[in-house]
């Protein structure tokens, strides 16, 4: 047996991926549709391998009773994991069905051509179709990994721009978990502990009762429930809970500078470099960032006859099921999770906690569907934050100013929340402890260390991570994990090294990049941005570049940004050249790359969570502004990948390069560098005065 590709390794049985209801091809995948287009991409792949019209392919996602376990939809791995599994499984099923046709018609499997699922022989119909054949072929068998897939010029569906199948529902008024209002639904709002360990000492039960709402309390997990959503909302406001044991947080605790003194464990990658002369160092920081999901977290659950069904917008249906089992004491087999889309959250924000809220309340009100919706303030308060980070880079330089060794020292809270109980469970009696902070190992491309090792020829990098122990700020995954801050640091550092060496930043990079595909995207984006006619530094107009290969193993992306800087940064134009190998749906790839550019630009220029009182102070969009329509630059994206190269994930590829390009563009415009994100007016003013 050959090595199986992607998620076929974990789920080799073909019937877990493919079925043939009459006239249809039914795919089941374990990744979920977040608006990134994975359902469309896998449908294209199956249509390609099976030679059926794309419109015949249905994709089942998110139902733990029906899908293979593919963990969490994360790390730009959906096409690489699901896509490669579907591709191989479809090719193998095709071979099995063709063999059955050959047996029936006493000919060779190679005698057939296939048109939209119908088998032809010498261009004549044979009466055989995938559906007549599938009735007699058991797919309850493991993939062999030995059947070749289509490639190169044979591709006719893969590689074409295809409209996303999930988008129409979102344009006509439905499509979200928030829109599910089953008959008999109870509307719940949680009165959340302001901090871990806070104890409820009282609330205005009479006011709650006036709205016809009831209070459910399990330890310090407290919620109001009502038949009517307006009443639930009003009762939630009127309840005015009083808490004991709430410690205030100092605003400085939420700044990156607080990380240096925080308790931490050390994780090393490589060997420390001996001290040497001619060293250059710089430190880069960014604050805590919000996922900034537009739709606050929602959960819906119903407990009937010992079975709990939970509708959730979590990226990981099976990991969520395991978490809910631990939180409720029910066996996992008694729980079904049904993924239903929420607003984009680009990581782990509040979906799992809202699902747990609903699950706990559904168990308290058996039979009734219970719907929990967080308020905007709760979303900003209680979502998991993207960690603040501080990154100190140091390089030893040769006489030509090229780095010959490279060290990164990183201070960061955990980028994943693996194994943590949900907020609801932590508020209930006998709460389990939080697991220790966790750094995913290099095989999973790290978390805080993600993209810390440069793709440049700088000798063997040494990385020292101070992984901050879990404290009161709950942090978890946000698009790219540590990649954005790490790429900002290393790409801005390279510009500083180039400047010190008197070299052009693009030429300096090209001389250090060993990978031809990397050099190609850097050269290409420089041409797109007309790099050769760059203004002199300090003119108020800046052009900067950033490059990364996400995780040093997914798509290559080079980004150039043009800015003008007065008091604020005005982002005028962004260019991107990317190579993701074979793009299954090129327009879908562009959509992801463009979205990453805008989101990264927003984080770079505007975003930082602030703290006061018991927790987060930035509780509204006025306190936590993000990039608006009038601030979004024009964006040009060129795809340079070729069909011979395997498909590489793109969802997070432009985040780091964009933030770095803007950082370098602002430094070029100012003739001075700001080492802290976001690049706010105050920081720019301070750098100009320095």
């Amino acid at each position: 047996m050959s090595a199986l590709p992607g998620s076929l390794r974990d789920t080799p049985r073909l019937d877990r991926w493919l079925a043939f209801p009459v006239g249809r091809v039914q795919l089941s995948i374990g990744k979920v549709e977040l608006g990134q287009g994975i359902t469309t991409a896998v449908a294209q792949i199956a249509a390609e391998e099976l030679d059926v019209e794309l419109s015949r392919v249905d994709v089942i996602i998110g139902d733990t009773d029906a899908i293979p376990d593919e963990g969490v939809t994360a790390s730009s791995l959906s096409v690489e994991m699901s896509g490669s599994a579907v591709r191989q499984a479809s090719a193998e099923v095709r071979a099995l069905l063709l063999a059955e046709a050959a047996r029936r018609l006493n000919c060779a499997a190679t005698d057939f051509t296939v048109e939209d699922g119908a088998l032809l022989r010498d261009d004549a119909a044979t009466g055989q179709t995938w559906w007549t054949l599938a009735a007699n072929v058991s797919l309850a068998r493991d993939a062999s990994g030995t059947v070749p897939c289509k490639s190169g010029p044979a591709l006719r569906v893969v590689g074409q721009d295809v409209p996303r199948s999930d988008l129409p529902a979102r344009l006509f008024g439905g499509g979200f978990l928030h829109d599910l209002l089953p008959p008999g639904v109870l509307h719940a709002r949680v009165l959340r502990q302001p901090g871990f360990g806070a104890v409820l000492v009282g609330l205005d039960e009479a006011a709650v009762a006036r709205y016809g709402a009831e209070v459910v309390r399990i330890g310090n997990f407290v919620a109001v429930l009502a038949e009517d959503e307006t009443a639930a909302t009003a009762a939630h406001v009127a309840a005015r809970p009083r808490w004991d044991g709430v410690a205030d947080i100092a605003p400085e605790e939420g700044e990156p500078a607080a990380l240096y003194a925080a308790p931490s464990t050390e994780i090393l990658l490589g060997e420390p470099h001996p001290p040497a002369a001619g060293r250059f160092s710089a430190t880069y920081t960014r604050g805590y960032v919000s996922h900034g999901t537009l739709g606050p977290s929602c959960g819906l659950a119903q407990f009937v006859d010992g079975r709990l069904t939970v509708w959730a917008h979590s990226r990981g249906p099976f990991p969520l099921r395991a978490m809910l089992a631990a939180a409720t004491g029910l066996p996992a087999e008694a729980i079904t999770v049904r993924y239903t889309p929420g607003a984009g959250s680009y990581g782990s924000a509040g979906a799992e906690d809202a699902a747990a809220d609903a699950a706990v309340l559904a168990l308290a009100r058996p039979g009734r569907p219970v719907r929990v919706l967080w308020t905007r303030e709760q979303e900003f308060s209680f979502e998991n934050l993207a960690p603040a980070m501080a990154i100190r880079l140091e390089a030893g330089l040769d006489e030509a100013g090229r780095p010959v060794d490279w060290s990164a020292e990183i201070w960061s809270p955990s980028h994943v929340l693996r194994g943590a109980p949900p907020l609801a469970r932590l508020a209930m009696p006998d709460a389990p402890p939080m697991p220790p902070a966790f750094e995913p190992p290099p095989a999973f491309s790290g978390g805080a260390m993600r993209n810390a090792a440069p793709a440049y020829d700088v000798g063997t990098p040494f990385v020292r991570l101070h992984l901050i122990e879990r404290g009161r700020l709950r942090t978890s995954a946000m698009r790219g994990l540590g990649a954005l801050p790490n790429v900002v640091a290393l790409e801005c550092f390279l510009d500083e090294l180039a400047e010190a060496a008197g070299k052009d930043p693009v030429a300096y990079r090209l001389a250090l990049l060993p990978d031809a595909r990397a050099r190609k995207v850097v050269r290409h984006v420089a041409a797109m941005a007309n790099w050769a006619s760059r203004d002199p530094a300090g003119s108020g107009r800046g052009l900067g570049i950033g490059f990364a290969r996400y995780k040093n193993r997914s798509a290559y992306a080079a980004v150039a940004a043009a800015v003008s800087v007065e008091q604020d940064v005005r982002l005028e134009h962004v260019w991107c050249a990317a190579d993701c190998g074979l793009a299954i749906n090129p327009d879908g790839v562009r959509n992801q790359l463009e979205g990453g550019i805008v989101q990264a630009a927003s984080m770079t220029l505007k975003e930082q969570v602030t703290f006061a009182g018991a927790g987060v102070a930035s509780l509204t969009w006025a306190d936590y502004p993000i990039l608006r329509f009038s601030e979004v630059p024009e964006i040009d994206v060129d795809l340079l990948g070729t069909t011979e190269n395997p498909s590489l994930g793109v969802g997070e590829a432009t985040m780091g390069p964009t933030a770095a390009a803007i950082g370098n563009a602002v430094a070029h415009a100012l003739g001075a560098r700001v080492h802290a994100l976001p690049l706010t007016r105050a920081r720019i003013a301070a750098s100009l005065l320095a």
Partner: protein, 156 residues
């Protein structure tokens, strides 16, 4: 009881006069297109048209729309017969998660009613009260301009 017109049809709503229009639309009338995002007029996810003018359904009490014409995204078109704006958003693949789209489609409809041929900057200004976290802004701007061309008979 409050009487109003929703998507061209008369509606009589049995709810308190202070009930937010957003709750009336979603929970009483089954129109889930207008979405809760912030409850404080800061994100645009709940925007509907009241007598053709964009309004925040989250903070608009029912009494304030008595006798008025409310348009929600469900009033634009259907998958079988999409409004030119919806068709243009599909053609441009303008959206990712899509949570912002209902409000943006309605703001765009109001824009095109007063300016059938908006520039990029004019579309951006008209949509500036709407947040999109996925970063599909440029596609949406192109889609609004495309719909404008279709609606004034200038081709796609």
């Amino acid at each position: 009881m409050v009487a109003l017109t929703v998507n061209g049809e008369p509606a009589v709503v049995a709810a308190g006069e202070d009930t937010p229009l957003l709750d009336v639309l979603r929970n009483q009338l089954g129109l889930t297109g207008a979405r809760y995002g912030c409850g404080s007029e800061q994100c645009g996810a709940c925007v509907v048209l009241v007598d053709g003018v964009p309004a925040y359904a989250c903070s608009k009490p029912l009494w304030a729309v008595a006798g008025r014409h409310v348009t929600t995204v469900e009033g634009l078109g259907s998958p079988a017969a999409p409004h030119p704006l919806q068709a243009a958003f599909l053609a441009e693949q303008a959206g990712q998660c899509g949570y912002c789209l209902s409000g943006i489609l309605l703001a765009a409809l109001a824009l095109l009613a007063r300016n059938p041929d908006p520039s990029r900057a004019e579309v951006a200004a008209a949509l500036d009260a709407h947040l999109c976290r996925c970063g599909a802004h440029n596609r949406m701007i192109r889609a609004v301009q495309r719909a404008g061309r279709v609606m004034r008979g200038a081709g796609a």
